[in-house]
């Protein structure tokens, strides 16, 4: 195994708080929720595992051989996130077998095959799931705009489905903020209005409450 301190990107003399901070940051970076439906999900979960192991090893070492169950300190247990990528299409939501087959193809990485199978379904019998799966295929291919439109349609056709809704809201989040950090927010919603009237009203209100203007 690699040097656990190198994995977390800190020096062996780092304090416990620094270790924890570095771990938290990396755990956030490789969090499986961010990589859901991405072809890189498996690699991200490997990284996550590596980080978890490194963190646990450091904690254990620092406890200096205090025996047994020492995982209590780790916020994100390694078992919780290790297979997030693989299991995401196992659920069926009571769909019929054609879509199950297509989900299997997507799971195995046969996107071309899945796309062909989806295109083979006549347009009058396409339901919300069809649009969702088509969205997944395009998303993986990198055709983000088409994927966005398919997910949108899927949500419109079946607004109660949690799977579609969570995917769609994740994408909307990405569209409005770039790297998911709130850095590149756009649109009128983010515009904070503040003019003379606001200031006056604010002063008057605070004056009512605490007589700040004497």
């Amino acid at each position: 195994m690699n040097d656990p301190y190198k994995v977390l990107g800190i020096s062996p003399s780092a304090s416990d708080a620094e270790v924890k901070k570095a771990y938290r940051e990396l755990a956030k970076k490789y969090h499986p929720d961010k990589y859901a439906d991405s072809p890189l999900a498996e690699l991200a979960s490997e990284k996550m595992k590596e980080v978890n192991e490194a963190y646990e090893k450091i904690l254990n070492d620092r406890k200096n051989g205090v025996s047994g169950s020492s995982t209590s300190g780790s916020g994100y247990g390694s078992s919780g996130y290790s297979d997030a990528g693989a299991s995401s299409y196992a659920n069926t939501y009571g769909s019929d077998s054609v879509y199950q087959q297509i989900r299997r193809m997507i799971n195995e990485g046969n996107f071309g095959q899945a796309e062909n199978a989806l295109s083979g379904i006549p347009s009058d019998s396409r339901n919300a799931e069809w649009y969702y799966l088509m969205g997944v295929v395009y998303y993986r291919k990198g055709f983000l705009e088409d994927a966005y439109n398919y997910f949108q349609t899927a949500c419109r056709m079946d607004p109660s489905n949690v799977e579609y809704k969570s995917m769609f809201s994740r994408i909307q989040q990405q569209r409005s903020t770039g790297s998911g950090s709130g850095f590149n927010a756009s649109g009128a919603a983010s515009q904070a209005a503040c003019d003379c009237c606001d200031i006056c009203a604010c002063l008057m209100c605070s004056d009512c409450l605490c007589r700040s203007c004497g």
Partner: protein
């Protein structure tokens, strides 16, 4: 390429900024040595970034030396050079891209531009032949890209299909930077979204011009008389591309230049986006309220 991939210098440390400059100058020097004096003029920020990725991913050893600038001998520069292929690779990409871009201009521009491009091509031709011989794969990939780009524009494709050729090209270029199977997978996705971002950024930047001259532009469909709301749409498309790009970037195993590359990915791209979409364009023409909004967006808050 287009020069959108640059670090946000206000977020760089001074030593990082100097290192970046020395990479730029070093690449210029390496191109001069390999392909002749004139090709140095084709150097762009994009290729500088590519050189840094190449050196960083292959853990090549690099060192910095003092010297003087060829174009301005009064100026002292520091030159970064690497032991491996990284700089050569980026130089070849720059020369090959320039050659094909000139070729493209010759085939679809007016008389004056065409003549200028012909003259330019004459100068680059020798260098291009040398680069093609050293890196036949790059030349083949670029010529494929030009052909499928032409096709996509003739078909009046949508956003995804028209950005696909550039995205695929960058994906191919990035894959060649690593031997490791897992890293190649990450690089293929990383390159794809990097190319997609560059293409769409260029398209959004040219939107106004293209509408005026009635040229093809994938965002044209979304323009309904109001440039500002069209730009907001472009911004959300680019945002989504950046977030996918960063996901792949976070999984790359980088060695040197990590801080500078982080800066480009986390700050530089967003800054360029804002600058090109909201503060550079037509500030004069819009109303006061819109102008305030542009200013607000272009200042924005930095991420904490």
């Amino acid at each position: 390429m287009f020069g959108y991939l640059r670090p946000e210098s206000s977020e760089l440390r001074v030593r990082e900024f100097e290192l970046y400059r020395s990479v730029y100058c070093g690449l210029c020097k390496s191109m001069g040595k390999d392909y002749g004096l004139l090709t140095r003029l084709t150097l762009s920020y994009d290729c500088t970034l590519l050189a840094m990725f190449a050196v960083s991913l292959r853990s090549e050893c690099s060192h910095v030396r003092d010297g003087r600038c060829v174009f301005n001998p009064m100026k002292k520069c520091r030159f970064c050079s690497s032991e491996g292929e990284g700089f050569r690779f980026a130089g070849a990409v720059s020369v090959i891209m320039t050659y094909y871009k000139l070729q493209d201009t010759i085939s679809d521009s007016g008389f004056f531009k065409r003549t200028a491009a012909r003259a330019g091509r004459l100068f680059v031709k020798g260098s291009y032949k040398r680069a093609e011989k050293a890196y036949p794969d790059i030349a083949a990939a670029v010529s494929d890209m030009i052909a499928s780009q032409q096709q996509a524009e003739n078909d009046h494709s949508g956003i995804d299909a028209s950005s696909d050729p550039t995205a695929t090209l960058l994906s191919k270029l990035c894959i060649s930077l690593s031997e490791d199977e897992g890293q190649r997978m990450v690089l293929s996705r990383f390159g794809y979204f990097l190319g997609r971002w560059i293409y769409l950024m260029d398209a959004a930047d040219d939107l106004e011009k293209d509408i005026k001259h009635n040229n093809f532009n994938p965002f044209r469909k979304y323009f309904e008389g109001d440039l500002f709301s069209a730009m907001e749409y472009c911004n959300s498309v680019l945002n989504m591309t950046v977030s996918q790009l960063v996901l792949a970037y976070d999984l790359l195993e980088l060695d040197s230049y990590k801080e500078i590359l982080d800066n480009v990915m986390y700050y530089g791209l967003s800054f360029q986006q804002k600058h090109c979409l909201f503060s550079k364009n037509n500030k004069k023409k819009c109303s006061k309220k819109e102008k305030d909004h542009y200013n607000y967006l272009s200042k924005g808050e930095k991420r904490s």
